[in-house]
């Protein structure tokens, strides 16, 4: 042990050469993430959190649901609404919602910089807020794209965004959104609920956005 300690002393000249540039190196952001992206120094801490172990998450048989975590959730929005994965959701126009700002709340973990080696077992108090923001970013971006595209609109194409939708148009739009988000047809009761929106006095574009939001953030799109 003493010999080892002596050996350690040999490293002294090495540490003597640490310089102010140490912290300015680009950080590796890990597998499955965009490499080379600058990560603020303030995102560093240490080791793991929470756990997925034990009986804590026990549920009654057959009532268990699986959390649709960040990547599948993102895919559902990007694919479902035909959006650009890299830009569809950025806080302050620069920080990725999925891979950075809301990652842990959406069921991910950052082992390399944040030192989080485990993901949360279940959605946290903040998850629903993050879900709201990300879906709203996605829906509003699609809406504005379709407004510009007019007749070539991709999603919001069943009624004019400046007009007043009919019940049938609402049904068509809702059905399409159910397909895109939940991969199923809406049930009659759900269509009835959607059609009641026409009494709320919302402008067509706002109504379209809220339809998109409400279906996209429904628990069925988060818990599988």
């Amino acid at each position: 042990m003493k010999a080892r300690r002596r050996a350690l002393l040999l490293i002294l000249p090495v540490f003597a050469l640490l310089s102010a540039s140490c912290n300015q190196r680009p950080k590796w952001t890990g597998f499955g993430r965009s490499s080379g992206a600058a990560v603020p120094e303030t995102s560093s801490n240490s080791i793991p959190v929470a756990s997925e172990t034990g009986d804590v998450g026990s549920s009654e048989p057959g009532l268990d649901l699986v959390w649709k975590r960040y990547r599948a959730f993102e895919d559902g929005l990007v694919t479902g609404l035909a959006l650009n994965k890299a830009t569809f959701c950025q806080e302050l126009g620069k920080q990725s919602c999925i891979d950075k700002v809301h990652l842990t709340f959406l069921g991910g973990n950052d082992p390399f910089e944040a030192g989080l080696y485990e993901r949360a077992q279940t959605p946290t108090s903040i998850t629903a807020v993050a879900v709201d923001r990300v879906v709203l970013y996605a829906c509003s971006q699609r809406l504005e794209m379709d407004r510009v595209a007019a007749s070539a609109a991709v999603v919001f194409k069943y009624f004019p965004l400046s007009g007043t939708p009919t019940s049938d148009q609402l049904k068509l739009q809702a059905t399409d959104l159910y397909h895109r988000f939940l991969a199923r047809d809406p049930e009659a009761a759900e269509i009835t609920v959607i059609q009641s929106l026409s009494n709320k006095g919302l402008a067509a574009d706002k109504l379209a956005l809220m339809m998109c939001y409400s279906i996209g953030t429904s628990a069925e799109n988060i818990l599988l």
């Binding site: 998450g57 279940t122 956005l209």
Partner: protein, 473 residues
């Protein structure tokens, strides 16, 4: 005194408590009056008490030129001229003496010999008292007792073993740690729609959310999975926490980003009204994650969001032209340079705590002067994994023998509970009821937990009595 007999509690709550679905469960456990705050400051890497308030002028770990601390048994190591091997200045120059001059009356050292020198295991035991209270962490216990109704009662701004959930499966979800990786960006996670679309204001969102609720009620998923833990817990959080956060304008209250370098206005955001207050104490919060976490901890408690916050420094040195205030891998740099790491990191930690206490002393609970200052109901626990070998120079390994610092008006401060042998710099324990030193006794993690619990008014099966350590008014 709040009794939390786990068995009775479980019997009363049935399965719901296990599922984390009953806010009332915590109420039954706590029935607490008012708020109490615990701030666990993680001196990560192994902070040695003999290099701080139990520093000695003779013996194995002696310091030269120790400052004189009048009217206190507590000691202070001097500020050393530290560097990372002669090239990078190390430390912020903050004197331990300064801390004692300001806060000695509320500061105590409690000696202990812990049970693990594995960072992860020891960090967790530092907050669970080695499962003293059925595995419940201190932040979980304090959040349950005094954080009812708070949307983010147990705010976790740390990592490592300190941040892990406790092993008590009866702790409801809302009192489990809410982990925040980036304190500067956290505000964005507290508002569901602000700054996204002009089409989505409060009135529209109300309609959208009502619609969602109706659609869910009509869905097959609702029929099939109603009553399941995941479904119920998610809906409950969404319907209560989101609204609470938004209505309280949490996004503004917690906004720490500098408007000068971020386009906050363009996106409809505003910086916290308290930004100058926290900046005065934490001038480097934009670049120093420890300061940012301290600032967020204060804002979250001040604004009634949290009452149990855990905060750790970064493992990465914050190297700038003038040097770095913190060492690489925090206190664990002691392996390379014991004195340099301990001296710099104690200064780094204490300076941060100094700023936090100043803020708590200046701030009314819930903004209500009638409730008193936040500090009057706060306890700061400087937790660490273990001590280090008792040496004057060179690198040092881990050592179970140590002690911890606690600062609070709820404690019988300006005292050392236990003692230290000056020759070996090894500590020994004390009698909990009388506070009398006992060289044959070692305090353990469960004693640290017990002292804090007693000071905070919590009782549980098997808790010792530490009457001498707790301030009686």
């Amino acid at each position: 005194m709040i009794k939390s007999n786990r068995r009775d509690a479980l019997k009363s709550f049935g399965g719901l408590a296990v599922l984390g679905l009953t806010g009332n469960a915590a109420n039954l456990l706590a029935q607490a009056q008012g708020k109490k705050y615990i701030f666990t400051i993680c001196a990560a890497g192994g902070a040695n008490i003999a290099d701080c308030f139990l520093a000695q002028s003779t013996g194995a770990a002696a310091y030269d030129n120790m400052p004189t601390i009048n009217g206190s048994p507590l000691r202070a190591a001097p500020v050393l001229s530290n560097s990372i091997k002669g090239v990078i200045n190390l430390g912020n120059g903050y004197a331990q003496e300064t801390f004692l001059k300001k806060f000695a009356a509320d500061t105590l050292v409690m000696t202990a010999e812990v049970s693990s020198v594995n960072h992860n295991v020891a960090g967790k035991r530092a907050v669970t008292g080695d499962n003293a209270n059925q595995g419940r962490t201190l932040p979980e216990a304090i959040a349950m007792a005094y954080g009812q109704g708070l949307p983010l009662a147990n705010l976790m701004l740390a990592g490592g073993g300190y941040s892990q959930n406790g092993d008590d499966i009866t702790v409801p979800d809302q009192y489990r740690a809410q982990v925040v990786a980036d304190p500067l960006m956290f505000a964005f996670a507290t508002h569901g729609y602000k700054g996204i679309s002009k089409l989505a204001g409060e009135a529209e969102m109300k309609i959208g959310r009502d619609l969602r609720q109706q659609l869910e009620a009509a869905s097959r998923l609702h029929t099939q999975f109603q009553g399941g833990r995941a479904f119920e817990s998610y809906i409950k959080n969404r319907d209560s926490v989101v609204e609470m956060l938004e209505k309280g304008d949490t996004v503004t209250k917690l906004m720490l980003l500098d408007p000068a370098t971020n386009e906050l206005e363009k996106y409809g955001f505003k910086v916290s009204a308290d930004i100058n207050l926290v900046r005065e104490k934490f001038q480097n919060l934009s670049t120093d994650i420890f300061e940012a976490r301290l600032a967020l901890a204060f804002l979250a408690t001040k604004n009634g969001l949290s009452n149990a916050v855990t905060i750790s420094p970064s493992n990465t040195p914050l190297i700038a032209s003038r040097g770095t205030p913190n060492s690489p891998i925090a206190f664990d740099w002691s392996h390379v340079d014991h004195r340099g790491a301990q001296n710099a990191m104690w200064s780094y930690i204490l300076k941060g705590v100094d700023g936090l206490i100043d803020l708590l002393k200046a701030t009314d609970i819930d903004g209500d002067p009638g409730k008193g200052k936040m500090w009057s109901q706060s306890l700061i626990y400087i937790a660490t994994e273990f001590g280090r070998d008792k040496v004057k120079s060179g690198g040092s390994g881990h050592n179970l023998n140590n002690g911890v610092v606690m600062v609070s008006p709820l404690l019988n401060g300006n005292k050392i509970f236990g003692g230290i042998d000056p020759e070996t710099a090894l500590t020994y324990g004390f009698i909990g009821d009388t506070g009398a030193p006992d060289k044959t006794k070692m305090m353990k993690e469960r004693d640290i937990y017990g002292v804090i619990a007693q000071a905070m008014g919590l009782s549980y099966m098997g808790r010792g009595s530490y009457k001498a350590v707790v301030r009686t008014t």
